[in-house]
Symmetry: C2
Subunit: 303 residues, 2 copies
């Protein structure tokens, strides 16, 4: 082996546990033993692997080493499956999931798989550009996002589309759209947008021929977004499946009869990510149809 | 005036709208006019205010200018309140709110205020260290976090505490804790942790004399966290108010009878943030008692 895994393990523990003291406790070592291992690693590489201030974080080199550790762990897990005597079969999967999927269908679809396979999830929530960058950098083993273009070393599968409807509370609609969705009203009525990179609201307005600016709240929380809409603070595009009860009760209603956008979702995963990742992929593809509408031409994509 | 606000406005539009083209459209200018304004601004300052690649973002200098623009807008809003003929009274408040507050009580408490005062919210979700850093840098006008120490130029008020209970699904408890919360079981039972900086689970285990490592999922989404717990993938500390229905239905139950932690919450806001921010503060303090338990010694803090 070219790398000393004892040193890499020390680095992973310090980063995963956010600190030398906790990392040492996690490994059952003294803090100074962990410090020495990381200093030795840095001496061998001739470069720092961690920045200590203002906040403990891996350097780009440290990040590459951690990605390698993650990939080795996935491969080890495959091996342990076949030779159980070798050790415990705990496995972490680091995945980037978009916020609305995580708030709606992700756990109902994958929960049973993770329980049965003893998978621990290490989830990050990212908008799709960042998620794909993390895939490319090898920081996550899989991601869900709206683009079908695979990154290098990854495979992409279409999952289906999620329907977003433009919704608001009845009193909001009475107050801001008494004469329907005309441009004068759209110029004044506060919308709700998930974050600066969320273009769904803009697409919705462009579909209506409205291209000017509009007042809006920014709320990067799925739950908070729905609460803002329910409290009559704004209208916004909300996953239909997330608010079936609110729609039934009438606390949220459609702005107009054609007020929806279907967003396609794709699953990206490392091509050589081990058998658990492959099995999760098969599980996802088999079950997500209950939650997502199938896409036309459900082909597989390769880089 | 020492600053040319026409140039600053161009910078703010490009950043707020995430692009030159959209920024120009927002201002009703051509893209080249906006480009020229930003070039002129950079020429006068002798430094770049934006980085163009890999992603459009303000430089530290650009960020300081944007903070200034935000503060000027708050002061303008006060002025417009008194001289309505001057212009429209749209106001944005940029605030950092912790994820669990945003998912539970924030909107029920502040919604009516924002509607009545025509406030547009620009919310960011951050863990508390980052939130306080953003306060200190002037990036947000207010924040909610668990620390009472005010940052420079800010005032701090105690809001009350939020009760977190250690919860899981009944089948999870039967599977992982058939003989109660002993240390052998805690070493094996997967927990759910919000993110690498979330120490609530660790505090809970330390209260039980358990200091070793434990398997855990990471799930930085309030709703996703609850879904993981409901699906039997792990146990975790969940705001009681967020799952009153699940507790009543019995889909989530307490791990043991003393399984709670009260987390204090404080409201930090700019000392000179204008009258709307002061009014929001008064509104918050008057209403949050319905959702949060009052803290002992509810004094005010100054930097």
């Amino acid at each position: 082996m070219m790398l000393d895994y004892k040193l890499l393990q020390a680095l992973a523990a310090v980063v995963d546990q956010s600190g030398f003291e906790r990392g040492a406790k996690y490994l059952g070592l003294t803090q100074s033993a962990v410090s020495q291992r990381i200093k030795l690693l840095e001496a061998r590489l001739g470069q720092p692997v961690l920045v200590r201030a203002p906040k403990l974080a891996p350097t780009p080199l440290g990040r590459r080493l951690l990605n390698h550790v993650q990939q080795v762990r996935l491969l080890e897990h495959d091996l342990l499956d076949r030779i159980p005597a070798l050790g415990e079969r705990e496995q972490r999967l680091r995945l980037a999931i978009n916020a609305d999927s995580l708030a709606t269908w992700w756990t109902p679809v994958t929960g049973s798989f993770c329980r049965e396979h003893g998978v621990l999830l290490d989830l990050v929530v990212e908008d799709q550009d960042v998620a794909l960058k993390r895939m490319r950098d090898g920081e996550v083993a899989g991601c869900i996002c709206a683009t079908s273009r695979p990154v290098q070393g990854a495979r992409t599968h279409p999952l289906g589309s999620m329907r977003y409807r433009a919704l608001a509370s009845p009193d909001y609609i009475a107050r801001h759209f008494p004469r329907g969705l005309n441009h004068a009203a759209l110029r004044q009525a506060p919308a709700i947008v998930f974050g600066p990179d969320d273009r769904l609201q803009h697409r919705y307005l462009e579909m209506r021929g409205y291209q000017a600016s509009f007042p809006h709240h920014l709320c990067p929380s799925s739950e908070g977004f729905i609460q803002l809409a329910q409290s009559g603070m704004g209208y916004g595009l909300i996953p239909e499946r997330q608010v079936s009860r609110e729609l039934q009760e009438g606390s949220l209603v459609d702005l107009d009869s054609e007020s929806f956008i279907d967003v396609p979702l794709y699953w990206h995963h490392w091509r050589h990510g081990g058998s658990t990742l492959d099995a999760l992929t098969a599980h996802l593809l088999a079950r997500c149809n209950h939650w997502l509408t199938p896409l036309d031409g459900a082909q597989e994509f390769f880089d």
